[in-house]
């Protein structure tokens, strides 16, 4: 029984990271209709810059600020310079453009930070609490806490504020929203900035908890996208819950040895099962609106 508790807690911490990533993606998608495959790469750049700041002897708050700031700037740069040119294209085309951005960022990171083992350590790593014999570090608690807080905050942002209303209007129909006087540029700038800052924050936590490797961090966006698919790219609470559930399932599979080698497939199997359940009796396409 204790083993189940151990793996449950371990999965919760991993799930919190998936959730945190998923929220930033959903927020951006709701406002701009873009599924951002570069989310992991943007976070990875943030984490690498934070490592560089710490390596140069900079204070930790500056590293946090650098990571979040780099995420914000990169996301904003893409959102303002490249995304408008694709605003009228299909969602898949927009998504592929972000994939190109991800690959470019990955190449740039490999060029600047040649491949050597690195690790990122933050002050919060050193605090920990023991639950059921598993030590949960401050960083993991921060990931869980931030996941809950950000879910609540973005929920309020989208549902209760004027900016949230405009974001939803824009995602539903860009043409109609602009005719109605929604300031498209302002709303999109806000969405890209908030999403980028979240990517920087999540990237730093991933860099600390998973490992500081640009390639691994860049492609962590794939399991994260599985969580957003369950939330239909629109629901932040469902995305949060999906992230936690996937993390726990992935971790618990370690207990059943025949399935252990397939654990990394857990996010996708769960997403496919959830999609099939949700679309029972309906037709659903990736482009939506059908």
């Amino acid at each position: 029984m204790l083993a189940y508790g151990l793996f449950l807690l371990s999965g919760l911490a991993l799930g919190a990271l998936y959730s945190l990533g998923g929220i930033g993606l959903v927020l951006l998608n709701r406002a701009t209709g873009v599924l951002n495959f570069a989310y992991g790469a943007i976070g990875a750049v943030g984490a690498m810059i934070a490592w560089q700041v710490l390596n140069w002897g900079g204070p930790e708050p500056l590293a946090w600020a650098a990571s979040i700031g780099a995420g914000l700037l990169l996301s904003l740069a893409f959102g303002r310079l490249l995304a408008p040119g694709l605003a009228h294209r299909e969602p898949v085309v927009k998504a592929v453009a972000t994939l190109g951005f991800a690959i470019a960022l990955l190449g740039l990171m490999n060029l600047i930070w040649s491949i050597t083992p690195r690790s990122l350590s933050l002050t919060v790593d050193k605090q920990s609490v023991a639950v059921l014999g598993v030590r949960i570090t401050g960083t993991r608690l921060l990931a869980i806490g931030a996941g809950i807080a950000i879910t609540a905050l973005t929920g309020v942002l989208l549902a209760r504020t004027r900016m949230g209303l405009m974001m939803r209007a824009l995602a539903d129909n860009r043409e109609v929203a602009s005719v109605l006087g929604v300031p498209i540029r302002k709303v999109e700038t806000t969405a890209w900035s908030v999403s980028g800052a979240l990517a920087g924050f999540t990237g730093l936590l991933f860099g600390d908890l998973v490992r500081l490797d640009p390639t691994v961090l860049t492609f962590l966006v794939i399991p994260i996208i599985a969580t957003t698919v369950i939330g239909r790219l629109t629901s932040i609470p469902v995305t949060f819950a999906a992230g936690i559930a996937i993390g726990i399932i992935e971790s618990m599979l370690a207990l059943y040895s025949p399935l252990t080698p397939f654990r990394v497939a857990a996010p996708f199997v769960v997403a496919i099962a959830a999609l099939m359940w949700m679309q029972r009796g309906r037709y659903l396409t990736f482009a939506g609106e059908d």
Binding site: R135, R211, E250, R263
Partner: protein, 417 residues
């Protein structure tokens, strides 16, 4: 007058500098100080430079050595034209670049290749074209089980078994759990043979194999705790191993186990990354002798890199290994008539390499005509210290049934220890 005096001072400085560098002049090939000007001999290498890890250190060391050889008489007057191709960790690219080297450029041999994918893809091509690859940075089983590939490094199998063997003898380990990659020709290959070694001694061994993209290190650590093992063998690439050890540190399980690792943790960045927590606790197997060795080849390797390489070229195990592959290759070439160097004569000369010795290796190097090659199968152990590594185990031959065909081959060839 003033100008005259400054000329004298400058001349003096140049003299002092050249005499200083003459003291540390590396020795290469004929070592006659004459630039080789004859018809170039084309030699290739395939490395995985861009991708999840950089496997190019071996070819960079070989390039430095060949440049040194070319400046010192070449291969009896003929310079080596060294062509390095990047396989980008992509099997398709690996096949293309090897075909380009072997079929278009018509290289006489491949020297100091380092890759995770190249050997598995191209072993058949090399055999069909009868071109030899004197590799230096191999990580997969195909590299050690092919007729035309011989690597100077050992790969994960002897390194993992060697670590377990040392732990059984020196630390009294009875139950080893191997943490490896879930890639058949890497993780299953090395952890599998480590389990067999433990069983052959009447002891227990098991494995936890992780997907390279896995974000969840916690589960692997928890499974290791649940396994009942007394020793953890970390057999992962350095970055992943550091991630695994960080979680192990978080969970406070260090003192519940004895800790050993295969070669990837022998990286000068590792003691700093792992910190004091693992100093004096983690023991790492090394495939070649220590990087700061004082022997003639260890010294010459560093001097060649200092003079003919760049400051960015890594000074690590793969680099040592690449230097050695290049040196053994040049030694074999120098025995040939320079006018009759072609692929056939070169392949024969490489197969005839026997009982080459180096202070960088624990045992002799040879090639032979067997259908598999693993000349390097003795290794050492070091312990991670606060600011580096400390030798804790001298050269020891690896004890594994996997090596039976290799040992039989050595007997047939009369390889002396």
């Amino acid at each position: 007058m003033k100008r005259h005096r400054s000329t004298i001072i400058a001349a003096g400085a140049v003299l002092a500098l050249t005499s200083g560098s003459a003291l540390a002049a590396p020795k290469c090939g004929l070592n006659n100080g004459t630039k080789a000007t004859g018809q170039p001999i084309k030699v290739g290498a395939v490395v995985g430079q861009t991708g999840p890890d950089d496997f190019s250190a071996s070819a960079k060391a070989a390039k430095a050595y060949f440049t040194c050889v070319n400046a010192n008489g070449g291969i009896n007057g003929r310079p080596i034209e060294y062509l390095i191709q990047d396989d980008q960790w992509n099997p398709e690219v690996a096949g293309l670049v090897a075909a380009k080297l072997v079929k278009d450029e018509k290289v006489v041999a491949l020297v100091a290749s380092g890759s995770f994918v190249e050997m598995g893809v191209n072993a058949k091509l090399y055999a069909a074209e009868d071109v030899m690859s004197m590799a230096a940075a191999c990580a997969v089983s195909e590299c050690f089980e092919s007729k035309n590939i011989v690597s100077t490094n050992e790969g994960p199998l002897p390194s993992s078994v060697g670590a377990a063997q040392w732990a059984v003898t020196k630390l009294g380990s009875k139950n080893v759990i191997c943490i490896g990659l879930n890639i058949p020709s890497v993780g299953q290959y090395s952890c599998g043979w480590t389990e067999k070694y433990m069983q052959s001694k009447g002891l227990s061994g098991s494995s936890i194999l992780m997907d390279p993209a896995s974000a969840d290190m916690n589960s692997a650590v928890l499974r290791a705790v649940a396994s009942g093992a007394d020793t953890v063998l970390v057999n992962l690439p350095a970055g992943m191993a550091a991630g695994f050890l960080k979680v192990a540190q978080e969970q406070g399980i260090r003192d519940n186990f004895k800790w050993i690792s295969s070669t990837p943790l022998y990286d000068k960045a590792i003691p700093g990354i792992l910190g004091d927590h693992w100093a004096g606790v983690m023991h790492v197997n090394i495939e070649l002798t220590p990087i700061e060795g004082k022997g003639p080849d260890a010294t010459n390797w560093r001097e060649v890199l200092d003079k003919y390489g760049t400051a960015q070229d890594k000074r690590d195990t793969f680099s040592q290994s690449g230097y050695l592959s290049a040196r053994f290759f040049v030694d074999a070439m120098l025995k040939l008539d320079p006018a009759k160097i072609d692929r056939k004569s070169v392949s024969e000369a490489i197969r005839a390499i026997k009982n080459e010795k180096s202070d960088l290796l624990c045992g002799p190097y040879y090639v032979g005509d067997g259908d598999r090659h693993m000349p390097n199968h003795a290794n050492m152990m070091v312990q991670i210290a606060k600011d580096g590594f400390k030798v804790v185990g001298e050269c020891t031959g690896v004890d594994s049934a996997y090596l039976d065909p290799i040992i039989a081959q050595e007997k047939r060839l009369g390889i002396g220890k």
